[in-house]
C-alpha cells in the first residue's frame, strides 16, 4: 500500500469521525456535547470567543484569499 493511499485513507477516516461524532450528538438522549454547546461555553469566556472568531477568520483568509 502506498504512502499516498494510507494518507488519503487517514484523512477520510478523520473526516468520517468528525461527521459521525457531529451526527451522534443529535441522537435523542445523547450525552455528547454538541459543537454549538461548546461554542456557547467559549462565548461565555469572552476572550476565548474572540480567539475562536479570529481563528475562523484566519481559516477563511488562508483558504479563500491566499
Amino acid at each position: 500500500m502506498s504512502a499516498e493511499a494510507v494518507s488519503d485513507a487517514l484523512w477520510a477516516l478523520l473526516g468520517a469521525a468528525v461527521l459521525g461524532t457531529a451526527l451522534a450528538t443529535h441522537r435523542r438522549g445523547s450525552r455528547l456535547a454538541r459543537l454549538s454547546v461548546l461554542a456557547r461555553r467559549l462565548e461565555a469566556q469572552g476572550a476565548a470567543f474572540v480567539l475562536v472568531l479570529l481563528g475562523w477568520a484566519w481559516l477563511g483568509w488562508h483558504f479563500f484569499a491566499r
Binding site: 499516498e4 484523512w11 461524532t21 477568520a57 488562508h62 483558504f63 479563500f64 491566499r66
Partner: protein
C-alpha cells in the same frame, strides 16, 4: 410583521447573502483583489453579527441540573487532526502526504466545490456568531 414572517425573511436574506458571496468566491482566483474582497466581506458580516446580535434573556426558573455533557471526544478529534496535519506537513512530499491545504487545492479545481466550501465556512461563522 409576525415573528414567523420576520424569521422567514431573515432566513431568506441570510441565505441569499451566503449564496451570493459563495458564488462570487467560487468565481474568484486566489491572490487577487476579488478573492481578498469577498473573504473580507464575509468576515465583516459575521463579526458585525457577533457584535450586534443580542443575547435572549432566559425566561422562567433555571432548568434542573443535568449530568455534565461529554466533550472529550471533540478534544481527541481535534488533537488527532492537528497531529496528522503537522505530521503530513513535515513528512512531505505533498503528493504522498497531503496537508489540508493541498487537499483543498485539489478539490477546488472545481469552482462549484470552492463555492460550497465558502458557504460552509460562512455558515459556520454565522452559527458561532448567533447568540
Amino acid at each position: 410583521m409576525h415573528d414567523r414572517a420576520r424569521r422567514v425573511v431573515a432566513l431568506g436574506a441570510g441565505g441569499a447573502l451566503v449564496g451570493g458571496l459563495a458564488a462570487w468566491a467560487a468565481l474568484s482566483d486566489p491572490f487577487t483583489a476579488a478573492a481578498d474582497a469577498v473573504t473580507a466581506l464575509g468576515i465583516a458580516v459575521i463579526w458585525l453579527e457577533a457584535a450586534f446580535r443580542r443575547r435572549p434573556v432566559p425566561a422562567g426558573p433555571a432548568p434542573a441540573a443535568e449530568p455534565p455533557l461529554r466533550w472529550w471526544p471533540w478534544l481527541v478529534l481535534a488533537v488527532a487532526l492537528v497531529a496528522w496535519e503537522l505530521l503530513s506537513f513535515f513528512l512531505g512530499p505533498r503528493v504522498q502526504h497531503p496537508t489540508l491545504s493541498s487537499l483543498y487545492d485539489s478539490v477546488t479545481t472545481w469552482r462549484a466545490a470552492k463555492g460550497v466550501l465558502f458557504a460552509g465556512w460562512l455558515s459556520l461563522g454565522a452559527a458561532l456568531a448567533r447568540r
